[in-house]
Subunit: 290 residues, 4 copies
C-alpha cells in the first residue's frame, strides 16, 4: 500500500547514547528505503545531516509526513504537542520500558517501521486542551496541553481556593493544593496520582481532579469533551497561584485572572501498529500483573 | 406552547402519607387543567380512579404522555427504568430533600407542572445499560440498568476474581469484593462509594469500578459509551458469584457464566424545568457547602 | 545458646506436594539435631509419625516449644491463632513468595532453623482481638482474630447501617457495605483494600475501616490498643448482618445483637530471624519497587 | 477544689472585633474572681493592661497558670506550640464553629471557665514533633510541630523523590508531591486531605502520608510514637525541596540535607471541660451527620 511517507522526522532526547544508536539504525534503514530523514533540531547534534524543526524541514519549510520519537513518554509529550499544529502523525519507540505513548519496543522498531511505510497502521486522534489565562477581556497567555493543566498554590501558600465553572454554570468552590484539568491521555499521568480515574484514550471527555481537597467529598468529575471550564483562583494575590501545562510551561498569576480550558482544535495524531494493545500498556505501567 | 400532554401517570411509594397528600394536590390541579390523570398501579391504592401500569393506561392500554414521580431517587429509579421501553418522559418531585433525579421541590410542584404543560421544559436522554448473563451461547437472564450492574462475591467467599474484557480485548484480572459497571447516572450512587469518579450525566461513557480491589493500582476506568464489557467471574462455583441490577434485581451465578454489559437501546427521558441546576444537586447531595 | 526447644510442631497445607517435600527436609534435619518433631494433625496425612494437635503433642498432651508453618500467610494465620492460647512461638517458611508472616525463604529454611535452635532469634508479640457477639447480656459467640473482624451486610441487602461506639462513646453511624476492625497485622490485609492505612506491627492500636461508606468523609480511624469497640448493626433483621473473623469463621446475626471487639489477652508470638526486615516485606508485597 | 490558677493569659487573633468582645467578657469575669489577667502581646493592642509574652508575664517573667485562646484552630495551634516549652495548660474558645482544638462555644465560655477555676477539668497531653534539618553532622534548623511537618517539591519541580527511613531501617523511596509526617492532632488537618487516616488524639503514633504518590500502592503508614523518621530528598538541588512546619515555619533545602523527625520532649497540655466530646468534634467537622 502507498502511504505517501516521503519525509520522516526523527526526534530523541539530546545526548542519550542509546537514543543516538537507535536513531542511527532507524535513519540508515529509512534512507535505504528511499525515505528522506530529518533529525530534530536538538536531537543528537553531533550527527550531521538535514534537520527538522518539529513539524517542518528546517531548510525547505515543507512539512514532514511522519515523526518518530525515540525515548520516553516525556519526550513524546513534548514533540507530539509541537507537531499538532501541522497535523503530523507521530509514533513512539521506547528503549526498554513500554510507555503509554511510546508503544514500539526497540527490537521491533525496524520491522514496525516497515509495516508503517507499507500502510499497515492506524491513526488515533488524541484530544488536546486549549488553555487561556485571562484578565478581564485580555488573554495574557495561551498554550496547548496534551496531558494536563494544573492550577496550584504558589510556593508559600498552604491552600488555594478555586471556583470552577462549566459552560458558565457554577460547579463548586474547592480549597485544595490545586486543581488538575486533564485529557484522556493525561488521565494516567499526574491526575491518576491525585486520585482521578483512568479514561479510555478516545473518550470525548475532560476530567477535573482536585489535589488534596480540604473537603473529602470533592471528588474527580468527568465532563463532556465539549465543555468549557473556567477556573477562578480566589486568593491569588498576594499569596499567588500558579499554572502549569504538561508539567513544563509555567505561568504565575499576579492579579484577578482566571483560566479557561477547552478542547483544542488540533489533535495529536498517534500512529498505532497492529500489535498495539492499550490495555497491555495499562497493565504494565500500573503493575496489574501477568 | 402546545406540548400534547393529555394523559399523565402519577407514581409514588405505596402508603406514604406525605406522598399521598402531594398526589392529591397534583391530581386536582392537573384535572382542573383538563389533563387525564392515572395513578400508578400500586400507588396510594385507597385513592379511587383510573390506573396506569407504568407507561400505559391500565384500562385502554394507551401510552401516557408524561410520568410524574413523587418521592426519592429510589422510586424514580424504579419507575424510570420501567417507562423507558415506551419512551415516556418522566419528572421527579421530591418531598423535602433534593435528589439527583427528583429535582422539583414540593412547594414548586404546581408551578413547575404548569411550566411543563406550557411546554417550558427540556428532555434529557439518560443512558441505560443492557445486561445479559450468558453461559456458552445461551442468554440466561437479561435486564436493563439505569444506575449500575454489580458483580460480587457470594455470601461466603472473601474475594472474587473477575476478568474484564472491553470490545473483546482483555483489560485485567481483578481480585476484589466485586466490580461495578455504572452509567453516568449511577456514577453518583454506589460507584461513588467504591471510589469511582462523578460523570457528567450526558457523557457518553460507562465506568468500571472495582470494589476493594486487592491490588491497590486497580483503579476506576471510564470507557466509551459504545463499549461492550464482558465480565468473567473465575471462581464462581462452588463459592458463588452474584449479579445485582440497580440494587434490586438479583441473579446468582452457578456455573461457567459471564456477564455482558452494553449501552441499552432505550434511554430514560428525564424532564427538566428551566430552574434545573445539576451542579446544585451535586453540591447539596455531596455537602460541598454554600 | 540454650533455647530449650525440644519439641517442634510442623504445619502445612494439606496435600500440597511442595509443602510435603519441605516438611520432609525440615523433619529430617530437626531429628538429626535431636529435636522431637510432630506433624500437624491434618498436615501431610500420608507421612507416618507422631502428631501435634496445634499447640500440643496429640499423644502426651504436652505443649510444643515451637511451631513451624510451611506455606502462605493464610495457613500461618490459621495456625498462629490456634497456638496463641498456649503461647507457643511460631515461625513461617514460605515456598517462593515472601509473605508478611512467612519470612523465611525455602532455601534458607535449614540454616535459619539452626539459628533459631541456637537461640539467635527475636520473639515479637503481635496483638489479637477478642470478638464477642452479644444480645442483651448474653454472649452468643466468641472468637479470637489475628487479622480482622468484618461486620457486613447479608447477601441481599445493598447497605448496612452500623453505629460504632468506642469505650462507650458514640463515634458515628455509617451506611456502608460493612465495617472492618483490624489489628496492626491485619492492616495489610482486607483493611488495606478498603482504604485503611498500614500500621506498624507493634503499634498498640486497632483500626476501624468502613467498607465503601455512603458518606465520603467516613474515613479510617486508628484507635488506642486498649479501646473497647462496640458495633451495632441497625437494620439487622430482616435483611441480615454478617460477622466474619480472619475471613473464615462466620456468624449470621438474626436479631438485636451487637459485636464487641477489644484486644485479646493472648498474643501471637512471632519468631524473627536476624535477617528479618519488615519493610522489605512491605516493599515486596505492595510492589514498591527495588 | 483549689486549682492554683492565679494568672491567666488570654490570646486572640489581632484586630478581630468579635474576638475583642469575647476577650473583654472573659477578662472582666476573671478579674472579678480575683484572677490576674494578661493579654497576649499582639492580642487586641488597643486594650490597655498588662501583657503576656506567650507563657510568661511580660513584666515579671513569671509563668502563667493557664492560657485561654479565643478564635480558631489556627490561632490555637500557634499559641499552644509556643506554650509547650513552659508546660502551660491551654484551652480554646471558639466563636461559632466548633474546632478540633477550640472546644468551648462562646456562649458557654464564662460557665466553663468557672468550672475550670473550680478544678473541674482534665488535662490531655498531646504529642508534638521535634524536627531537625541536618546536613552531614550539622543541625541547620530545628523546630517543634504540633500538627505536621511537610517535605515537598520546590516551586518549579513536578515531583520530588524522597527516601524514608524509620529507626535507621529503609522504608521506601517515594516519588510524589511530598511527604507529610503528622501527629495524632495533625491527622485531621492536611494529612487527612492527602488520604491519611484519623488517629485518636492520645494514640502514641506518628503517621507518614505521601502526597499524590506516583506509585499508587504508596499508602499512609502509622508508626510507633517512639520512631525516629529520617527523610532524604534525593533531587534537592537544583530543583529544590521545601520543609514546612504546621503550615507556617518554612525552610528551603539547598544541598544534601535530610530531615529528622521524632516525638518532641514537650507536649501540649490541652484542657478539657467535662462536656468535651472528641467524636462530636469529628462528626461536626467532617459532616458525619446528626
Amino acid at each position: 500500500m502507498k502511504t505517501g511517507i516521503q519525509t520522516v522526522g526523527v526526534f530523541g532526547k539530546y545526548k542519550d547514547s542509546s537514543v543516538r544508536d537507535m536513531l542511527g539504525v532507524l535513519r540508515a534503514h529509512l534512507e535505504k528505503r528511499g525515505v528522506k530523514v530529518l533529525l530534530g533540531d536538538t536531537t543528537a547534534p553531533d550527527i550531521e545531516g538535514p534537520r527538522a524543526e518539529f513539524s517542518r524541514d528546517a531548510e525547505t519549510g515543507a512539512p514532514i509526513d511522519l515523526a518518530i520519537v525515540v525515548g520516553g513518554d516525556g519526550t513524546m509529550l513534548h514533540v507530539a504537542r509541537s507537531l499538532a499544529s501541522d497535523s503530523i502523525p507521530v509514533v513512539g519507540v521506547n528503549l526498554g520500558r513500554l510507555g503509554f505513548l511510546t508503544e514500539i519496543p526497540a527490537d521491533q522498531a525496524v520491522a514496525d517501521l516497515d509495516r508503517i511505510l507499507g500502510g499497515d497502521f492506524k491513526v488515533e486522534h488524541r484530544m488536546m486542551l486549549q488553555v487561556d489565562v485571562r484578565a478581564a477581556d485580555d488573554t495574557l497567555h495561551s498554550a496547548t496541553a496534551f496531558n494536563d493543566v494544573v492550577v496550584s498554590k504558589g510556593e508559600v501558600a498552604r491552600l488555594i481556593e478555586i471556583e470552577a465553572y462549566v459552560n458558565g454554570e457554577f460547579v463548586t468552590r474547592t480549597r485544595a493544593d490545586g486543581v488538575i484539568v486533564a485529557t484522556p491521555t493525561g488521565s494516567t499521568a499526574y491526575a491518576l496520582s491525585a486520585g482521578g480515574p483512568i479514561l479510555h484514550p478516545l473518550l470525548p471527555a475532560i476530567v477535573l481532579v482536585p489535589i488534596c481537597p480540604h473537603r473529602l467529598s470533592n471528588r474527580p468529575i468527568v465532563l463532556e469533551g465539549s465543555s468549557v471550564i473556567r477556573l477562578e483562583p480566589l486568593n491569588a494575590p498576594p499569596r499567588g497561584a500558579h499554572v502549569s501545562i504538561d508539567g513544563h510551561i509555567e505561568f504565575s498569576l499576579s492579579g484577578p485572572e482566571h483560566i479557561e480550558v477547552r478542547r483544542a482544535e488540533q489533535v495529536v495524531k498517534l500512529v498505532h501498529v497492529p500489535s498495539h494493545d492499550h490495555y497491555e500498556a495499562l497493565r504494565y505501567k500500573l503493575g496489574w500483573g501477568a
